[in-house]
Amino acid sequence: METIISIDGANVLCALKGRLDTLAAQQVSKDIQPVLEHAGGTVTLDCSDLEYISSSGLRIFLTIRKEASRQGGKVIVRNLRKEIGQVFLMTGFYNLFEMQQA
């Protein structure tokens, strides 16, 4: 699992690559600290290469969303794969984020 974060002023781009399973989630939750710090701007989570997600992974998405909400920022989920989109739908997450397909 790879997390690539690039911050450009108020815009934060976070690319999640690989399988976000329970174990990976432990690492990713540490890796996204910079994102949380900049959650007052526009956070774009690029999921183009996100292959898998578990409920622990969803928890990370929710954490970012909550923080953005607290700071008055917004979160865009970009290029979510169909299978993972299904998981978002099952859990009601789909409506919590702004979805963007490039």
Binding site: R19, D21, T22, L23, Q26, Y52, I53, S54, S55, S56, L58, R59, L62, T63, R65, K66, S69, R70, K82, E83, Q86, V87, M90, T91, G92, L96
Partner: protein, 727 residues
């Protein structure tokens, strides 16, 4: 009855009438001929009888006359010798009367001129013989015929009959003969009288037939003997004839009789036909006739004719009756035949309807190569209520076979109802037992005729050959495959339409690629040979066993051929119905299992990905499905790793995946941690906003969402979580 029959009735009636008429004509012709000949024969017989009677009577009369004439002639010499002694002449007359019983009186009359008038007459008086003189004022004998004629003619003469008023006071006739002296001069006339009483009696008794009568006329035509006494001596035939119906014929007879002819003539007289036979009495110049009424002669003929006619009429009536009966029977036979034809026609139509309702396009699903099927229904002479049907829905072949109790049109109607119920109920219901329950309910409700249907319903999955079925009292179908010909294990259950609240039980089996299910009705097992032996289930099984691997059509044909060979010349008694369904789709791989054992360490979680990969391969799962299964399994396993065992202790979690290809994947997650039933977890509120949303609690929700069936059990200190996903 139709117009044709009415025409036929008229035709037969005319034919019958014609036969009676021809028979009547033939009988009439024969009876006319017979009548003619019998009449002729009888007439000839009558003529013979009459002629012989006349002849006999004539001979007797002649005999009497001969006697009289002989008596006279033999005394002529006596008279001649006593011409000179007139007083002794009376003795001669006396002798004649005395010697001849037939002679009533006798006279010796001298010829006046030569001698004095002298005529002594002796006659029978009471019991003696009296003699008187015929001379005197009262009786001028020389002027009498009996004296004058022989004197003039010079020979013996029979006088016309006359009533003797002087002596005998009876009807008489007199024979007179001249008596000559030595010179040849007639000197006296010698007479002898005979009373005609005997003649009347003799001729009167000439009764050839009871009502026949006789008459006798003198040479001048005077009636001497007649049944009508007033005519006697007072009338001639000619005078009497003017009062008769046919005077000309009488005249003719009269003439013939006066001419001394004999013969026979038919005359109409007294309002009837009479036969008159006549013959002369030569000596006296008289003529006799016998009158026989035609009814007397032909009475018998006529009576026999009448009887014959009556018998003929009876015969004709009998003939007419027999013909009438025959015609009636013929018409009845014709009518029965027509009715039979009509019923047969109706049965033919019903059979047509029955056949039309059965699927008959083969192959029925040309675009589907997973199934090959063929059905056949051969109706017996009397239409039965067999049926079969099938259709495709959602990758499933719904099929059925059934046999309605009873035969004929009612059975075929129930069959039609059954078939449409099968179609409508199966269109929305997919469980075989429920389909049968609903069909049974509908049929029992409206089953007024108490007919029932044995029925077998099957649902064959074209994806994997799974066969779900339910039986309602029908014969167990055969399962045919390589080296396999077995009766399908069926619960008998009650037929449809027997009991409204009948519970049916579904069963399940599996057809491998190339295997068939062979359905049939009892028309096969109960097909009889000439020895009335059933074909039976075992023969059927053996015949069907030989068809393993053949196409559905070849299977049906081969079994049909086996039955035809078995029954030989015996007649088919019941509908013969077969339906072969051969599964040609894939046979899914066998169920397989995969195992994985993890420690209660979160670091082990990535191993699940590899495990799911092997499962996905075994179950031919697509990526999406594999991912969802991975997620569900991970959530369940994570739950165990994080919470089942106390912190810092080592615990295990055993994972089993059961792969049932084309059907389902089942996960069993087994741990020996503290009891925990994840299925009791509360359903998270997915509608909450971002700020209210708790960060946890989604794991079990995901498991439930992804898997089709989740169950938990605590067994022997283990938590056993089972999760199934249909694929």
């Amino acid at each position: 009855m139709g117009a044709i029959s009415r025409a036929a009735r008229r035709f037969y009636a005319r034919q019958g009438l014609l036969i009676v008429i021809i028979a009547a004509l033939a009988l009439e012709a024969t009876s006319i001929i017979q009548y003619y000949f019998s009449r002729k024969g009888i007439r000839e017989e009558a003529a013979m009888r009459a002629e012989s009677e006349l002849e006999a009577t004539g001979l007797r009369i002649t005999g009497v006359m001969d006697q009289v004439e002989t008596a006279v002639h033999s005394n002529v010499r006596q008279v001649r010798e006593r011409l000179g002694l007139p007083d002794s002449l009376a003795a001669v007359s006396r002798d004649i009367v005395e010697d001849n019983a037939v002679v009533f009186g006798s006279c010796v009359a001298l010829v006046p001129g030569t001698d004095r008038a002298f005529a002594p007459y002796s006659y029978q008086s009471a019991d003696s013989i009296a003699t008187i003189q015929l001379t005197g004022e009262a009786y001028d004998y020389p002027s009498k015929e009996w004296f004058k004629v022989p004197l003039e003619k010079g020979e013996g003469y029979w006088s016309e009959p006359y009533f003797d008023t002087g002596g005998g006071e009876t009807l008489m006739t007199t024979f007179s003969a001249p008596v000559r002296d030595g010179n040849g001069t007639i000197r006296a006339i010698l007479t002898a009288d005979i009373s005609l009483d005997w003649l009347t009696e003799m001729v009167g008794n000439l009764k050839v037939y009871p009502n026949a009568y006789s008459i006798m006329v003198s040479r001048t035509g005077r009636i001497m003997v007649s049944p009508v006494e007033t005519l006697v001596m007072r009338s001639t035939i000619q005078e009497a004839a003017t009062k008769l119906d046919d005077p000309e014929a009488i005249q003719e007879i009269n003439r013939a009789m006066l001419s001394g002819e004999s013969g026979n003539k038919s005359i109409r007289m007294d309002d009837r036909n009479n036969e008159v036979f006549y013959a002369p009495v030569q000596r006296a110049g008289w003529s006799m006739a016998i009158v026989i009424p035609g009814t007397e002669i032909y009475g018998n003929v006529n009576r026999i004719g009448m009887i014959v006619k009556l018998l003929q009429l009876l015969g004709l009536a009998l003939l007419a009756f027999v013909i009438h009966r025959i015609v009636k029977n013929q018409l009845k036979i014709k009518e029965v035949q027509e009715r039979k034809d009509r019923i047969e026609n109706e049965l033919h139509i019903a059979s047509g309807i029955q056949r039309a309702m059965l699927p008959k396009t083969y192959p029925p699903f040309p675009e589907r190569d997973e199934v090959d099927l063929y059905g056949s229904l051969v109706s017996a002479k009397e239409i039965g209520g067999d049926l079969y049907d099938y259709f495709l829905r959602d990758e499933n072949l719904f099929f059925c076979i059934g046999d309605v109790s009873g035969k004929g049109i009612p059975a075929s109607l129930v069959m039609a109802v059954t078939r449409s119920l099968f179609r409508t109920v199966s269109a929305r219901e997919s469980e075989p037992d429920k389909i049968l329950s609903q069909m049974n309910g509908a049929m029992s409700e409206t089953n007024e005729s108490n007919m029932f249907v044995t029925f077998f319903l099957g649902i064959l999955s074209l994806r994997d050959g799974t066969l779900r079925y339910c039986n309602a009292g029908h014969n167990a179908p055969l399962l045919l495959g390589e080296g396999r010909a077995d009766f399908l294990d069926v619960q008998p259950n009650l037929p449809l339409g027997v009991m409204e609240k009948m519970k049916y039980t579904a069963q399940e089996t599996h057809l491998a690629t190339g295997e068939s299910i062979f359905l049939y009705t009892d028309g096969l097992t109960e097909a009889e040979n000439e020895g009335l032996q059933f074909f039976g289930e075992e023969r059927l099984r053996q015949a069907a066993a030989k068809t393993a691997g053949m196409s559905a059509r070849a299977q049906v044909d081969a079994v049909d051929q086996a039955i035809l060979t078995y029954i030989g010349t015996a007649a088919q008694s019941d509908d013969k119905t077969m339906l072969a369904i051969r599964y040609l789709g894939e046979t899914p791989a066998e169920t397989s299992e995969k195992h994985l054992v993890l420690h209660n360490d979160i670091k082990q979680i990535p191993q699940l990905a590899g495990f799911i990969e092997t499962v996905a391969q075994a179950g031919s799962l697509n990526q999406g499905t594999a991912m969802s299964l991975n997620l569900a399994l991970e959530e369940a396993v994570t739950n165990v790793i994080l919470y089942a065992y106390p912190e810092g202790t080592d615990g295990m979690v055993e994972i089993t995946a059961i792969i049932r290809p084309k059907k389902e994947i089942e996960f069993i997650v087994d741990d020996s941690g503290r009891p925990f039933d994840p299925t009791l977890a509360e359903q998270p509120d997915l509608e909450l906003g971002v700020d209210e949303r708790p960060v946890g609690g989604l794991g079990i929700h995901l498991v439930r969402s992804i898997m089709d069936k989740v169950s938990y059990a605590r067994e022997g200190g283990h938590n056993i979580l089972k999760m199934k996903k249909l694929i």
